[in-house]
């Protein structure tokens, strides 16, 4: 049985008032623009765009609570980690200005951990938070706001051949179903005493321990596909160019959205070409002493 995303029609939703093809094109342009830059001054307008669409999409907290909690937990955890360890930042800055440091009051095997806060780490962590939150928020809108019945025709309308458009459609439909199957398999195995998190044994036994989860979920999915294949074959799938039950038409607002998306992307590419894509550290934060200086 297929499990579906929590889509429903939301009267007054800006995203739902748009053609899904226009939305996907805008989303792709937004994605490229976001990936182009680490400059906080350029990331903030992108965050504003993401927030605009979230607040006008008529999503309720009840519907999307799990998604937001996951995104917030993920983004905050990794941003904090970035702030404390400087992970990932070494590609973006070569010098660091020390705001402060603190030696923790305990020792691990004789080593006293020291937390170092630098301007670059701080700005990098904030930039990362804004960047990932913007991307994740725009992505969340897709399953909640786009009608699953329109996935296939949307990808077809974006230029994919029929078969690949239908494969993309099925992929998006299968994701929640396999998520549910995984949870069921996990629960069933746990009922038999299976413990995934137990750190025991060497590398090979850790790998082997994953088989009771991966193999049943995969083989169950493949076995279940026979019914879908038969149903599609009985409807002569792929024999002739496909027709779609629902048709999409671009309206003025969709063209405006596409134009805005393309301009956003081209603008951000141009800005990154003239050097604005790099991590930006405000002058005031560069007044702190240099690390090791």
């Amino acid at each position: 049985m297929l499990v579906s995303w929590r889509y429903r029609l939301r009267p007054g939703s800006v995203v739902q008032a748009l053609d899904p093809r226009a939305w996907m094109i805008f989303f792709a342009c937004f994605l490229v623009a976001t990936v182009m830059t680490w400059d906080l001054r350029l990331l903030l307008p992108l965050l504003a765009i993401a927030l605009f669409f979230i607040f006008t999409s008529r999503l309720t907290w009840r519907d999307t609570r799990r998604a937001w909690l996951f995104i917030s937990g993920f983004v905050i955890f990794f941003s904090l980690l970035t702030l404390l360890t400087g992970r990932g930042g070494v590609e973006h800055y070569t010098v660091e200005h020390v705001i402060g440091s603190a030696r923790l009051p305990f020792a691990l095997f004789g080593w006293k951990p020291t937390l170092l806060l630098t301007s670059e780490r701080l700005v990098f962590a904030v930039s990362m938070l804004v960047r990932v939150f913007s991307l994740a928020s725009m992505t969340v809108l897709i399953p909640y706001c786009i009608n699953p019945a329109l996935y296939g025709v949307t990808f077809r309308g974006l230029g994919l051949p029929d078969k690949f458009a239908y494969a993309m459609d099925l992929t998006m439909r299968f994701i929640p179903t396999f998520g549910r199957d995984f949870q069921l398999t996990m629960d069933a195995q746990r009922a038999r005493g299976y413990e995934l998190e137990k750190v025991e044994g060497g590398l090979l036994s850790q790998v082997r321990k994953l088989a009771p989860l991966l193999v049943p979920v995969t083989i169950h999915a493949v076995a279940g596909s026979e019914d879908i294949i038969d149903a599609m074959d009985l409807r002569a799938f792929g024999v002739q160019p496909r027709t779609w039950l629902l048709e999409l038409t671009y309206r003025r607002r969709d063209r405006i959205l596409i134009g805005a998306g393309v301009m956003l992307m081209v603008g951000y590419i141009a800005l990154s070409l003239i050097g604005f894509g790099r991590l930006w550290v405000p002058e005031a934060l560069q007044a702190f002493p240099l690390l090791g200086g």
């Binding site: 994605l31 976001t34 990936v35 182009m36 995104i71 993920f74 983004v75 980690l81 404390l84 360890t85 992970r87 990932g88 070494v90 960047r131 990932v132 991307l135 992505t139 078969k163 690949f164 239908y166 494969a167 993309m168 099925l170 992929t171 998006m172 299968f174 994701i175 396999f178 998520g179 995984f182 995934l196 998190e197 750190v199 060497g202 590398l203 090979l204 850790q206 790998v207 994953l210 088989a211 991966l214 193999v215 995969t218 083989i219 999915a221 493949v222 076995a223 596909s225 879908i228 294949i229 599609m232 799938f237 792929g238 590419i269 141009a270 990154s272 070409l273 003239i274 050097g275 894509g277």
Partner: protein
């Protein structure tokens, strides 16, 4: 050249011309432009990856392995969805799968390997590339399209096994190619032993990309290759298992190699850092999964087919 092929070639040429144009215009706008800071190179490597796919298709198009029917469409979708779900669950966000000596465990990679080997290169490529894209979107990792293409290549190359009617004949050549690549990676590990493991994040110790690669992680490609070799000969009577494991190994080395090498230009890594810091910690554990979980999947799939008579 038929019309369909010509349109693919023209589209790929247009993509490359577009990026060359950007490089040219960018150079005029900003003489000190460093392309690795613009993220544009990611898309250039997507185009290069697609050119590789096209060349492989062009060279072998007379065989039936590139046909896409109903069955393939459904398997493409299942493979991509499974890969996305497993990536989301196992990439340290939902279940933190314990890692051993800096070897992070990402078991999802066996999905494009298995689907590629069992259902063909198109299914393998789609499962790897689209599954990785959806997995990144679910996790909120952003966009690394060159790694999606690399994952796609893993599945595609595993699927090239279908080119051979007698799979056993291909195995020795594939093993030799794998041995050469493994040797190269291991030699580079000994050259750059102090290189940080850039793919490893150790939650309890807060270590990410700033600790030299451990001996086990550094030798993981070699360990994986030995395991693949063992699987190949242990399952000597079952050609399918041997072929699945060896072709998956080659797919993994080439696909992950492509993605890691592209980071030499995209992230500005020195070649040794890209190989030792990225390729080895990603491709090594993948090989270990290929040696252990791919046989389990192939055997289970064989049993299911016998049981259902399909």
């Amino acid at each position: 050249m038929d019309r369909k092929t010509l349109s693919v070639v023209l589209a790929l040429a247009a993509v490359l011309v577009f990026f060359l144009g950007i490089i040219w215009i960018g150079g005029m706008l900003n003489p000190s432009l460093q392309l690795d800071e613009t993220a544009l190179l990611r898309f250039v490597f997507v185009a290069i990856g697609l050119v590789i796919v096209f060349i492989l298709y062009w060279l072998t198009k007379s065989s039936g392995i590139w046909q896409v029917g109903t069955r393939e469409v459904v398997y493409m979708a299942i493979g991509a969805a499974l890969y996305a779900v497993f990536s989301y669950l196992f990439n340290g966000t939902v279940f933190v799968v314990p890692s051993v000596s800096q070897v992070a465990l990402r078991p999802a990679i066996v999905i494009p390997m298995f689907f590629g080997y069992t259902f063909g290169p198109v299914v393998g490529f789609f499962s790897g590339a689209v599954g990785n894209m959806f997995g990144d979107a679910l996790t909120g990792f952003g966009l690394s399209p060159q790694w999606s293409v690399g994952n796609g290549l893993v599945g595609l190359i595993a699927g090239l096994a279908l080119l051979y009617t007698d799979k056993k004949k291909s195995l020795n050549n594939v093993l030799i190619a794998g041995a050469v690549l493994t040797l190269l990676a291991t030699v580079l590990y000994f050259v750059g032993r102090g290189t940080p493991n850039m793919l490893f994040f150790d939650v309890p110790n807060n270590i990410f990309g700033d600790q030299p690669i451990t001996v086990i992680a550094g030798l993981s490609v070699l360990i994986g290759f030995v395991l693949v070799l063992a699987a190949r000969f242990l399952f000597g009577a079952n050609v399918d298992v041997g072929a699945a494991v060896t072709w998956s190994m080659l797919g993994n080395l080439v696909g992950i190699g492509f993605a890691a090498i592209s980071d030499i230009w995209i992230n500005g890594y020195p070649p040794v850092a890209a190989i030792v810091g990225e390729f080895i910690p990603a491709a090594g554990p993948n090989l270990i999964f290929a040696a252990i979980l791919v046989p389990a999947l192939v055997l289970a799939y064989g049993a299911m087919r016998r049981q259902t008579g399909r």
